[in-house]
Amino acid sequence: MATPAPFLSARGKLVLLALPMLLFMLLFFFIPVGSLLVRAVQDPELGAIAPNLQRELRAWDGQGTPPDSVVLALRDDLAAAQKDRRAAIVAKRAAEADPKLRPAIMDAAKASLADPQLSVQAVLNLDPVWRDAACWTRLRDVFAPFTDRYLLSALDLKRDRDTQEIVKVAPDQAIFLATLQRTLGVSLAVTLICLLLAYPLAYVVVRQGPVMQALMLTFVMLPFWTSILVRSAAWLVLLQTHGVVNETLMSLSIISEPLKLVYSRSGTILAMVHIQLPFTFLPIYSVMKSVPDSYVRAAQSLGAKPFYAFRRIYLPQTLPGVAAGCLLTFILCLGYYITPALLGGPADQLLSYYVAYYLNQEVNWSMASAVALMLLVVTLVIYTIYARFVPVLRQVEG
């Protein structure tokens, strides 16, 4: 019985099976994350509020005084914006380029709303700013549809207002590199503490009988599958000024005054270690399970001291697990938001905090995207190392 020629090759069929997930992820993960790249250099917000003003400003070459059409577009768009109470957004953004622009824009918006037929000369007479050609040029730059301002800001840099050269921002505004450094520092500290705790734990667990091993693994897995929010909440409750930890230590007379454990770096790191420890432990444990004891015994029977045998024979064999566990923990630490938000003070927030801050408080999507990109790049670099180190897939014949 001849089988009909297959419509698709075997490989084609396999690709077809994977296609729905690939397309879904492309549409709802890779395209949205990729558009952050564009969003970080794009500035559609002001264009949406004042489209005519943006078009006229960009049509003007920026030399000398602007033509009347720019001034009239300013009048009409600010009046419309003032009606929806959005003129303040324009004023605030313009103030970043020149503080004098903020009151001038607000006054112009109110005056234009009151009298929509205001003449060009009347608008120019509202504020000395409007008779200053340099201010119009700055306003034109504010309305640029594409800008490197946010990416520069995320690196604590800016363009000089007059020379347009890239310079460092004032030290009191330089927050992002310090936050990046703090993010890396906290992640490294948590990773090292997790390693110090997970390695001996895994070493002990693999040496237990099956029942004891199952019990110990339950102690690891039960917290592991409890939500991060619940565990952060637990630490918040336990570490409060009059929480369980402080009350216990005081009743034991170990301390006389409550320790400041919440809204602090130590509380944040403690909770992060608690959450990340299983991620460090599991890869080390699974590698240790496959390392036979016989090599260490052979080394010892050949005269190696126990510690020497451990260091030269056992430790190197467990390093793949250590690398996998530590890289995973480090990657996941970089993105922490909830735990520092609940347990840290203002000086303990990591990069994620600023993404949320610019999105929710400042409603500045471009700045949020620029900070997110910084976080994304650091994560991708380490994920690439991780993906090369750790085999993620075991294939079968067929």
Binding site: V15, A18, F28, V244
Partner: protein, 266 residues
């Protein structure tokens, strides 16, 4: 002498291990009794035993709406992510699949990506297509996070699967669909179910994406809890925490049972 020294070293190691295990378990266990406190304090000793905070939570429309939202989003996430992840797993475990390692690395990326980056990207994207602040948007967002867990879970099961069985069925005359339904599916079902459980837990526990993407109409339990933690701490939050712990533990227990069955059938 040497033996005694090693014995002492082992005892120290064992003690260290148990201290670490207690450190892991204690905070989770310690908050459960606080939900039964008769007074609105979150410390020991308990003033007395009471179910008043449980009554408060179950009679609160806010918490009950949050529970409803969490269940809707969780179940819909499972319904979409399980078939997507399972089909992809069937392709990626085969040696004939071109570039399988690369695809696997790419498809698992959402697991390693900082949640705020995913949340921001999805928020901007969903706003553009008009799905921000909607159930559909939140479900799509949670599906992005949950599908890699299904993929990993099913590939782990399939790594031990003998595709020769399917060929045997075909050579005995079974059509592809029949072979799949009668041979493949029963054998891999426990792995698929484990993946579905983990997909549900991913959505059930998720707070960052819900904070960014969901509107007031889709406040899930974790989101409601996060708001409560920042406003006022009272034992009703510990009640919700306890419920979340119990449900996670039950589901993971179910996952383990299923996985053990999967291991046995293979």
């Amino acid at each position: 002498m040497a033996v005694r020294k090693r014995g002492a070293g082992n005892l120290v190691l064992l003690a260290v291990a148990w201290l670490v295990l207690i450190f892991l378990m204690a905070p989770v266990v310690a908050i459960i009794p606080l939900s039964f406190n008769s007074e609105p304090f979150l410390t020991y000793p308990l003033a007395g035993f009471s179910l008043r905070w449980y009554a408060a939570v179950f009679n609160s429309p806010e918490w009950m709406n949050a529970l409803k939202s969490s269940l809707i989003v969780g179940i819909a996430t499972v319904a979409i992510s399980t078939p997507l992840g399972t089909l992809a797993a069937f392709a990626l475990v085969r040696r004939k699949m071109p570039q399988a390692q690369l695809f696997m690395g790419i498809l698992m990326l959402p697991m390693a990506m900082p949640l705020v980056v995913v949340a921001l990207a999805l928020y901007i994207f969903l706003t553009r297509i008009g799905l921000a602040n909607s159930y559909t948007g939140l479900i799509l967002a949670h599906t992005v996070l949950a599908t890699p867990f299904v993929l990993v879970s099913v590939t782990a099961t399939l790594a031990g699967f003998d595709f020769g069985l399917v060929r045997a069925a075909s050579s005995l005359g079974a059509r592809p669909w029949v072979a799949f339904r009668r041979v493949t599916l029963p054998l891999v079902m426990p792995g698929v179910a484990t993946g579905a459980v983990f997909a549900f837990i991913t959505s059930w526990d998720e707070v960052v994406v819900a904070l960014f993407v969901a509107g007031p109409g889709q406040r899930t339990l974790p989101r409601q809890m996060f708001a409560g933690l920042r406003e006022h701490l009272d034992p009703s939050i510990m009640v919700v925490a306890t419920i979340m712990i119990v449900i996670s533990v039950l589901l993971v227990g179910l996952g383990f049972v299923l996985r053990r069955r999967a291991a046995r059938t293979n």
